[in-house]
Amino acid sequence: MSGADKNTSGNILLDVEKLGISFGGLKAVDNFNLKIEKGELYGLIGPNGAGKTTIFNLLTGVYKPDTGRIILDGADITGKPTIEINKAGIARTFQNIRLFSNLPVIDNVKAALHNHYRYGLIHGIFRTPLYYRTEKAMDEKAMEILKVFELDGVADYKASQLPYGRQRKLEIARAIATEPKLLLLDEPAAGMNPQETHELMETIKFVRDNFDTTILLIEHDMKLVSGICEKLTVLNFGRVLKQGETYDVLHDAEVIKAYLGD
């Protein structure tokens, strides 16, 4: 990156320009712009069907955009496959939990360490010293991550045996294990009670502060959004309605209208 570039985009981690996609005749996302700075905790909100999850799917390569560009930390990742985008530094959780439900909790995290701790198939089958060394390091790293989410005590349980709230946490833990620059959380508090939501807020803040990552989250729970997000983008019918500091956005007349109607 040149010096001039640094001045304009030095602190920008994610730069989305004029992103758009249509399904059939429906413009699900249209002319979407977003700039997120490194270390920010950013919220994406909007009524049901506004296109929030579609944007996540565009950012993670599940859908290829019809128009626009996605720049992550200076690299163009527009239209790349999901795997490449994860390697480039975006990890996500899902609105409806997607865990590796038959694997133990620890293996869910170890699977996510896959690209950071390597050994070949031959090492795996013949159990060379490299195998033992790497597996040990993976175990330690996985336990370290699980500890943050208070899941270390249930490391040997099958993922499907965990209660709902802890499954959500495990999903975040798994995403964090890929060491993302940008973490996308799709409705992390969905289905949680106020107590669990409060804990989750603490965890999200802790993750941002301790794992050197930036977080973009979709959420309906306004308490969580106003409690932890520094900036917000409000989406309505696939278009940006309002963008800015959390307080300003939430007190904007148009935003209130979009949520509550006339």
């Binding site: 899902f94 997607r98 590796f100 038959n102 694997l103 170890k110 896959h114 690209n115 995403a175």
Partner: protein, 355 residues
């Protein structure tokens, strides 16, 4: 860690089970009490166990239904047999068998890779049907091939033996539907069991490796697996190829247990593929130890029931259903768990009382 010791225990009991099976059979054989019928079943038992373990990689670990497993076995069998009657004919028998196994595994793996390219783009039922088709294609193509060798090298045709145009001193190797004759028949129970152990070693270690974890993660949730950077096509292919290679090993063993090798619907047709699948399903999908036990029981049972003549298949079916229920009905599973728990509690109690 608890997790690791559990995996170790699982593997250990599986090895111990096979070893115990081997010792029982050997002692039975050495004391001369084994019927010739049972004796003839020993090597088939081994290749069925290998087939069950290898199909379990695709069905259990990778989560895809494959119905063409007999096709890979067929490739391995013919590769091994061709080697046995050509280059291997002059070699010491164990060296010949060793090289035949390596070759059979390698050629089957190549076939697995080539077939995997189109097949693994599909999912679920579609994948099952296409593998079924490929299995049948392999068998039928081999059935029509004539292969001969003379001083000029290999000749191959799909017409008849005469069209091979073999020169002076030429030898026909594959005679179409008549297959390959004059095989060495040098497979035995011990070699079979060693191969079972090797297959188990590969599969159990694979499951507990980084690659196996990726394969199982993809099985459990493809979209999530991609989102954490796991290559779906790479690991599905890895499972498919390893599975094909092991089926090829079983095929080599099969071919070396016979004097004449033919590709008939009975041995390499879909009936065989379905039978292997029954071993896997009955033993519990993904349960390596279970599929071994199922393979043994379902191979011995039909032979032991011969005296019932017409009722044989009826009893076979009843046993099949009973085993299925015992293995997977929720109530039966719960009952088994309670049983294990009460036994372990009793043991603990006794241990405490002794102390």
């Amino acid at each position: 860690m608890k997790n690791k010791s559990k995996a170790f225990k699982q593997s250990f009991t599986t090895y111990a089970l096979v070893l115990a099976f081997y010792l029982v059979c050997e002692i039975w054989l050495k004391t001369g009490n084994m019927s010739s019928l049972m004796e003839g079943l020993l090597v088939p038992l081994c290749y069925y166990m290998i087939l069950a373990v290898s199909l379990n990689i695709v069905v259990g670990i990778s989560g895809e239904l494959s119905l063409g497993h007999a096709g890979f076995m067929c490739v391995g069998a013919f590769t091994g047999a061709i080697f046995a009657v050509t280059a291997g004919a002059e070699m010491p028998e164990y060296l010949e068998l060793f090289i035949a196994i390596i070759l059979g595994a390698a050629v089957s793996a190549v076939f697995g890779f080539l077939i995997g390219i189109p097949v693994l783009r599909l999912r679920g039922d579609y994948l099952a049907i296409v593998t079924l088709a490929f299995g049948e294609i392999i068998k039928n193509v081999i059935n029509t091939i004539y292969l001969g060798v003379d001083v000029e090298g290999m000749h191959i045709t799909m017409k008849d033996a005469l069209s091979l145009n073999l020169g002076e001193g030429g030898k026909t190797i594959i005679k179409g539907a008549q297959g390959i004759t004059g095989l060495p028949r040098n497979a035995n129970f011990t070699i079979g069991i060693i191969l079972v152990f090797i297959s188990l070693f590969i599969v159990l270690n694979l499951i507990n490796s980084r690659q196996g974890r990726a394969i199982m993660a993809i099985r459990d949730n493809r979209i999530a697996a991609e989102s954490i950077g796991l290559s779906v096509s790479k690991y599905k292919m890895m499972a498919f190829v390893i599975s094909a290679a092991l089926a090829g090993v079983a095929g080599v063993l099969y071919a070396h247990n016979l004097a004449t090798l033919q590709a008939t619907p009975k041995n390499f047709g879909y009936n065989m593929s379905i039978m292997i699948l029954v071993f896997v399903v009955l033993g519990g999908i993904g349960n390596i130890k279970g599929s071994l036990i199922a393979a043994v029981i379902l191979t011995i049972l039909p032979e032991k029931l011969r005296f019932l003549s017409d009722y044989r298949m009826l009893i076979y079916a009843v046993v099949l259903i009973a085993m299925m229920l015992f293995n997977s009905a929720p109530k039966a599973v719960a009952f088994r768990e309670r049983l294990v728990e009460s036994i372990s509690r009793k043991n603990k109690k006794e241990a405490k009382e002794e102390a």
